[in-house]
């Protein structure tokens, strides 16, 4: 009996140790950090809009220059609880003004905070992880120029077990990857390879389109077998349309998609609505070529289950 207890204790300890090791918040390697470039704020601004930072971190409904005031506060009501977008302005105390370039790159690419704990994936680092280090440091350079906004946003309201950040380590092992989602354009699609690559980068990386347009599994991870096939809205009610050729916008031409992202109007002249309004207004700030790239990628998406 004593032996059994001892074995159980050892197994338990080993399990706990394995769990502890598996859930360790990971960060960038020393080699990656050594390679960090200086950062170009001009390209950083493009990534700021492509990445949709203001859609969650500026005040809800902010227009014009108010989109550069990143005090946070937007609430995302999800099945796991309420996530509140934090202050990511350049404020030293309440924002991320004290973060180093390495801190910022770790948050964006590994979902790990400067204090070494896991960030919740309501912050879509699962997509941002596909960004290049150089683009991330460009974004950092741009954001240091943005105004400081004082005041911390409210804390997340999460129930057990989602309030235990350490547990996210396992989730990240399953759901965090810097690999592209789609390996090649759909067979038979006649698309300029450079344009397609740029589109894939923008959609799968900074644009984080899949975070809303792809359904999630029970644990909140994206179901990659149904990439871009549309999903129930994660926050609020309604449905987010699919973007693959067999879904809601399958009949749109690439020019229709690019025009929608620029103007906010569908081919039938219905207007963009809901949370997509802010996304569309961000996309309208990109160079026309980038909107064409996004459209080219979407038109060449393989059927949802073919990935």
């Amino acid at each position: 009996m004593k032996k059994l207890v001892a074995i159980l204790v050892i197994v338990g300890l080993a399990g706990a140790a394995a769990g502890w090791i598996l859930t360790v918040p990971r960060t960038l390697s020393k080699m990656q950090i050594a390679d960090l470039p200086a950062g170009d704020p001009v390209n950083g601004e493009l990534l700021f809009w492509a990445g949709g930072c203001a859609s969650c971190h500026a005040a809800p409904g902010a227009k014009g220059d108010d989109k550069l005031l990143l005090g946070g506060g937007l609430k995302l009501e999800t099945p796991f609880g309420v996530f509140v977008a934090p202050n990511i302005s350049s404020d030293q105390e309440d924002g991320i003004g004290s973060w180093s370039k390495v801190d910022f790159a770790n948050a964006m690419l590994t979902g790990t905070s400067p204090q070494g704990s896991h960030l919740y994936p309501a912050f879509p680092y699962t997509s941002y992880a596909r960004m290049t280090l150089s683009d991330v440091t460009d974004l950092y350079a741009f954001m240091t120029f943005l105004p400081s906004v004082s005041g911390k946003a409210a804390a997340h309201e999460l129930g057990f077990p989602f309030n235990i950040r350490r547990g996210l380590g396992l989730w990240k092992l399953l759901n965090l990857s810097s690999e592209p989602v789609v390996s090649a354009p759909a067979a038979g699609s006649d698309v300029d390879p450079d344009l397609w690559q740029r589109g894939r980068y923008l959609v799968e990386g900074p644009g984080h389109c899949g975070e809303c347009h792809t359904p999630r599994d029970l644990m909140g991870g994206l179901d990659m077998s149904r990439w871009m096939s549309g999903a129930a809205a994660a926050s609020g009610e309604g449905r987010v349309p699919g973007l693959d050729p067999e879904s809601d916008i399958g009949s749109w031409s690439a020019a229709d998609i690019a025009y929608y992202l620029e103007s906010g109007f569908t081919p039938e002249y219905d207007s963009v609505g809901g949370e997509m309004v802010s996304v569309q207004e961000n996309m309208a700030r990109l160079p026309a070529r980038d909107r064409e790239a996004i459209a080219a990628y979407l038109k060449a998406l393989p059927a949802a289950d073919a990935n």
């Binding site: 409904g61 009610e237 002249y269 963009v272 309004v277 569309q280």
Partner: protein, 151 residues
């Protein structure tokens, strides 16, 4: 016999009347039909702005007038109780009634100004039409952002 015919005609008229009364009593159907008219007008207007459809002042005026009558009447068809059913109206229409009213006012102001700018015959050319329609098109998404839910 004549009485019978008359009676049948009366029945036909009343039942016809009854169906149209049902439709008129259904605010969801009415506001949908108003938005269909806005959508069709936007299709014509947008086509002319893009140059896909040749611009004429009369067509320009028809677009603006359809938008204007819709903007002025649309808000009257959101009574309490019409939030459920086959509708894409967000619950916020009723929760934030003042905000919804303000969004509608923005739409009416834009269409009213476009009406005033278009004169008797309609905006003279495509550029004048674009200038008049810009704010009208701008008001679509600010309302759809907060007050419509796609299902």
């Amino acid at each position: 016999m004549r009485k019978l015919v008359l009676g049948m005609a009366l029945v036909a008229v009343t039942s016809l009347g009854a169906t149209s009364v049902i439709a008129a009593d259904d605010p969801i159907e009415i506001r949908k039909s108003i938005m269909q008219s806005v959508g069709a007008a936007a299709g014509l207007g947008g086509g002319m702005m893009k140059g896909e459809i040749a611009y004429t002042p009369a067509a320009g005026k028809a677009v603006i007038a359809a938008m204007n009558s819709s903007a002025n009447s649309f808000g009257s068809f959101f009574p309490e109780g019409s939030e459920t059913g086959d509708t894409t109206a967000s619950p916020k229409v009723w929760e934030d009634a003042a905000g919804f009213k303000a969004a509608l006012a923005k739409f009416s102001e834009a269409t009213g100004a476009a009406m005033a700018a278009s004169g008797r015959g309609g905006p003279a050319d495509a550029d004048a039409f674009k200038a008049a329609m810009g704010p009208v098109f701008g008001s679509c998404k600010s309302c759809h952002q907060a007050f419509r839910v796609k299902k």
